[in-house]
């Protein structure tokens, strides 16, 4: 359960590594378990727990917006089962851009998911959020409405849609990932 940080963009990777090091310097071990996630991987996660009607409607919406590649990713992965684990369709999570990572807190060799538990007076997720902010990153733990403690990303925008159209996102994803 460890992410390959070499796949992250050069603007993000060294800052994430610095973040991990700064947490370690405070006695907190944060381990990245998700870095780059391809559009197909995102499509698999997005399809989990969604009905055929929801999937068909989203595919139609993406095609109508000119985002054919993103729609194809959702179709291509086929039926999936599991918990709801993402709200973002392929291309709209910063993980597809190599600009986000999820980390868990390691306590005595085990993953600790509590954002409240203190070890030596510190909680790993809260330390990570503080240190990320110092480095100019956007920690999900500090999001006001729906905090996402394991998450940290390069940019403050919630998704690429703030600066690109769906078609532009789709075209860029196709350029980067279609083989």
């Amino acid at each position: 359960m460890a992410a390959d940080l070499t796949l992250l963009v050069p603007a993000f990777r060294p800052r994430l590594e610095t973040l991990i090091a700064n947490c370690r310097a405070r006695g907190v071990e944060m381990r990245p378990y998700m870095g780059l996630r391809t559009p197909l991987e995102q499509a698999r996660l997005w399809r989990q727990s969604r009905s055929r009607e929801q999937i068909d409607a989203k595919v139609a919406q993406l095609r109508a917006a000119g985002a054919a590649y993103l729609a194809d990713c959702i179709v291509q992965v086929g039926p999936q089962n599991g918990d709801p684990v993402t709200n973002a369709v392929p291309g709209l999570s910063w993980h597809q851009w190599g600009e986000a990572a999820d980390c868990f807190w390691v306590v005595k060799g085990d993953a600790e998911w509590s954002t409240k538990r203190l070890v030596n007076g510190l909680n790993g997720y809260r330390v990570m959020a503080e240190e990320a902010k110092k480095l100019g990153l956007d920690p999900g733990g500090l999001w006001r409405k729906f905090p996402d403690w394991p998450h940290v990303q390069l940019r403050p925008e919630p998704s690429p849609l703030g600066r690109m159209t769906l078609k532009e996102v789709s075209d860029e994803m196709q350029r980067r990932f279609k083989k």
């Binding site: 359960m1 378990y33 709200n87 999820d102 538990r117 409405k145 729906f146 996402d148 403690w149």
Partner: protein, 153 residues
């Protein structure tokens, strides 16, 4: 057209415009329909149970919000609605509102909330929480008087 007649028409027009403005103003002055501004993240609302504290009393309200940019995040909120000393219109007011911190305390989790009234001044709110490594946790809190949430488990 005589000056008097023209003035009369102007007055009539002004009166009509004034009435229209007044009518629009009274509509605009009404409280907006709260349903028009409900956030899309609002998933479930349930009012139940009963609390009392001195002269104040009312019902509990549990609110479930589901959102999140990428990972789905659930917020579970307990509110204390007050019937006594509320608005003149007799609409209950929110006396206190608290996020169930025990739910928010688990990072990146799937949350299955539940609640039940357990007599006066006791509302039990619980949640099964699945952490990203697949393990399940259970948290239970007890809501009592306004603003008071006690973590039971």
């Amino acid at each position: 057209m005589s000056l008097a007649r023209r003035t009369g028409r102007v007055r009539a027009l002004a009166l009509a415009l004034g009435l229209a403005a007044a009518a629009a103003g009274s509509r605009a002055g009404e409280a907006p329909d709260p349903l028009a501004s409900l956030p899309g993240e609002l998933h479930t609302v349930a009012s139940l149970g009963h609390w009392a504290a001195g002269a104040r009393f009312g019902a509990y309200r549990v609110v479930v919000l589901k959102g999140g940019v990428d990972r789905p995040v659930t917020r579970l909120v307990v509110q204390w609605l007050s019937d006594a000393g509320g608005s003149e219109a007799g609409v209950p007011v929110v006396e206190a509102s608290r996020d169930v911190a025990a739910v928010a305390a688990y990072a990146g989790a799937r949350v299955l909330p539940a609640w039940r009234a357990r007599g006066n001044n006791r509302l039990e709110v619980s949640a099964r929480i699945r952490t990203p490594d697949g393990r399940w946790r259970r948290v239970v809190v007890l809501a009592t008087t306004p603003g008071s949430l006690i973590e039971v488990r």
